[in-house]
Amino acid sequence: MLKKSMLLGLATSLVLGGAALAQDPLKIVYIGKNTGNPYFDSITGGFVDACASLGCEFEFVAPATAEATSQIPFIEAQIQRGVNVIAIAPNSPDALNQVLEDAKSKGILVLTVNGDVTGNEDKRDASILPVNFDIVGRDQVEMVGSLIGYEGEIAILSATTEAPDQNKWIVGMNETLKSDPKYAKMTLVATVYGDDQPEKSTAEMEALLANFPNLRGVIAPTTVGIAAAAQVVQSRGLAETVKVTGLGLPSEMRDFVKDGTVTAFQLWSPYNQGWLAAHFAKGVLEGTIKNEVGGTFEVPNLGTITINANNMINTQAELTTFNAENIDNFDF
């Protein structure tokens, strides 16, 4: 019986004709973290639209679960399919090292999109991330300032005390408030932490309203915090006096924007990551874009894009602002 299956193996080897692949059109695949994540639908939308206009073939695949190694067979399958570009939102910073190396050695352009293999940057050609996180704090202060007329008391409702991204942004907010005379009449009265839990965030928001009766604005740079803060303001009918803004998901904030509780908030556009990745990939493979640190290239609708240190590319210089006019255009 053993012999039989060996013979079978031999038979299959005889049948194979070698994977003779046509080279064009350009084949791009995006490997998501896992299936059933609307955030990735939006990134995929960017790829689909870009490939429609650039004339390349696009496929989205993803494993059922986001385990560290679950993407490996998918990457190998795409190598076997002879794709030209593998874009991936990696589930692990290092478990994919060997298979990504394989892909690169086969001449495939490897891009990490919406996430990176931090510490193993040599295993991919470039990384496409939404926004330069250095400017998020500044942009958020401008956002809340524009909502309250650049005058009055403001507070920050953050995630956990250790959250690295949020802490970086809060430092940026403090520096902007101190150094830019435009915001001289605004005072930051408190920074509180809702731990990214709806109940704790709601309680912290209630406490802010109780402790600071003159509060004019709240920045919640986390999707859980902003939704909780908006809920409190909505149920108390304080939309006119206290302006809530921050970073939120359009899908979670739509109702608050529609009923006027929240005027505007920000995030980045996952769509643009797919859009940019496809344009970048095509440019690099056709030789019109040089994948070198410091280099620049043009992307329709996004303008001039710079390749930063470690071949990191940001899709947008500024955050996207969502308000009543445009929120229906976003579905993530």
Binding site: L16, P73, Q80
Partner: protein, 331 residues
């Protein structure tokens, strides 16, 4: 032909002897083989990129570690026990190995630490099941959690790199076949012979069929079961080190969920979950079947939801067929 002779009186109660071809072909492994052939055909229809022996062998290396452990697990199940901890043992062995070499212990010693840990984990399972008379399914669910937890204690949430020369067992080719596949095939032959041809093998079947009877005829059931659990631990450790070599780094979540794949391989190969029946050949074929089916669907970009459905149906079909075949042939 006369009636009433003693011979005929005896054979009247027993089922008529099965013809030779029936014994050879009507068995669960035959079903696995048929499914395998169907799988290869379906894969070739789904995608033009599937039927490439190098790609299939390469894909097999991803599952080879689990398949190797599944061979030993088959013997444990035949002996009437189960071990659900091997994937966690893989992770703990690999973490201890990586941690030891990272601490400057030297590779030979670090490998010894990894293998020794596997042996101890198997021994621990064995002591709990045999000396303390606890049900193996509960014990090994417990150690599945315990070993995974210890791995996380040792490695934290970080990954530990292994030395460059240790990386890439799946890139070593023996006559054009990746080394993990060669190890799996050789081990299959070896364990197949042990289980099918030796007294030790026959004793394993007897223990799984009727442990009390086995004891009464003087089989040292406790010793044999302990041997099997220790073999499980060692095989898991080897598989863990192979995974570390393939991935190039070790994390506590190495092989997460692998125990289900291993049990799946044994079941698909016709091993009877209540013990006493099953073969290494069946598990060997089932490992290929699983790889062929999942590879065929992945390379054809079939949605993961459908992949899960197909695997589920495959398992149910094989269990029904196995039960049917056993009930028809071994009354």
């Amino acid at each position: 032909m006369t009636t009433g002779t003693p011979q005929i009186a005896v054979t009247r109660d027993a089922a008529p002897p099965r013809p030779g071809w029936h014994v050879a072909l009507v068995r669960p492994e035959a079903m696995t083989l048929v499914l395998l052939i169907i799988g290869i055909f379906a894969g070739s229809q789904l995608s033009e990129f599937f039927l490439d022996i190098n790609y299939i062998l390469k894909s097999f290396t991803i599952s080879a570690e689990f398949a190797i452990v599944a061979l030993v697990l088959t013997m444990v199940i035949i002996a009437g026990e189960i071990d659900l901890s091997p994937a966690a043992s893989m992770a703990l062995s690999a973490c201890l190995f990586a941690w030891a070499q990272d601490a400057g212990l030297g590779m030979p010693l670090a490998i010894a630490v990894g293998l020794g840990a596997g042996l101890l984990m198997g021994l621990f399972n064995g002591v709990m099941v045999i000396a303390l008379q606890l049900p193996s399914i509960i014990v090994t669910i417990g150690t599945l959690i315990l070993y995974r937890g210890l791995a996380q204690v040792i490695a934290g949430d970080k990954s530990i790199r292994v030395p460059d020369w240790f990386i890439g067992i799946d890139k070593i080719m023996v006559a054009g076949i990746p080394l993990p596949v060669v190890i799996f095939v050789v081990l299959s032959l070896l364990l197949g012979l042990v289980l099918g041809m030796t007294i030790f093998g026959r004793q394993i079947y007897l223990i799984g069929t009727n442990e009390e009877a086995a004891k009464h005829v003087g089989i040292r059931t406790r010793r044999i079961k302990m041997t099997l659990f220790i073999m499980m631990g060692l095989a898991s450790a080897v598989a863990g080190l192979m995974t570390a070599s393939r991935l190039g780094s070790v994390r506590y979540d190495l092989g997460l969920g692998g125990e289900l794949q291993m049990v799946l391989m044994a079941m698909l190969g016709g091993t009877y979950i209540f013990g006493g029946r099953g073969t290494i050949l069946g598990t060997f074929l089932a490992a290929w079947l699983l790889v062929i089916v999942s590879t065929g669907m992945i390379v054809a970009n079939v949605l993961p939801a459908w992949q899960l459905c197909v695997l589920g149906v495959l398992l149910i079909v094989s269990i029904i067929a196995t039960n049917f075949i056993y009930s028809r042939t071994q009354r």
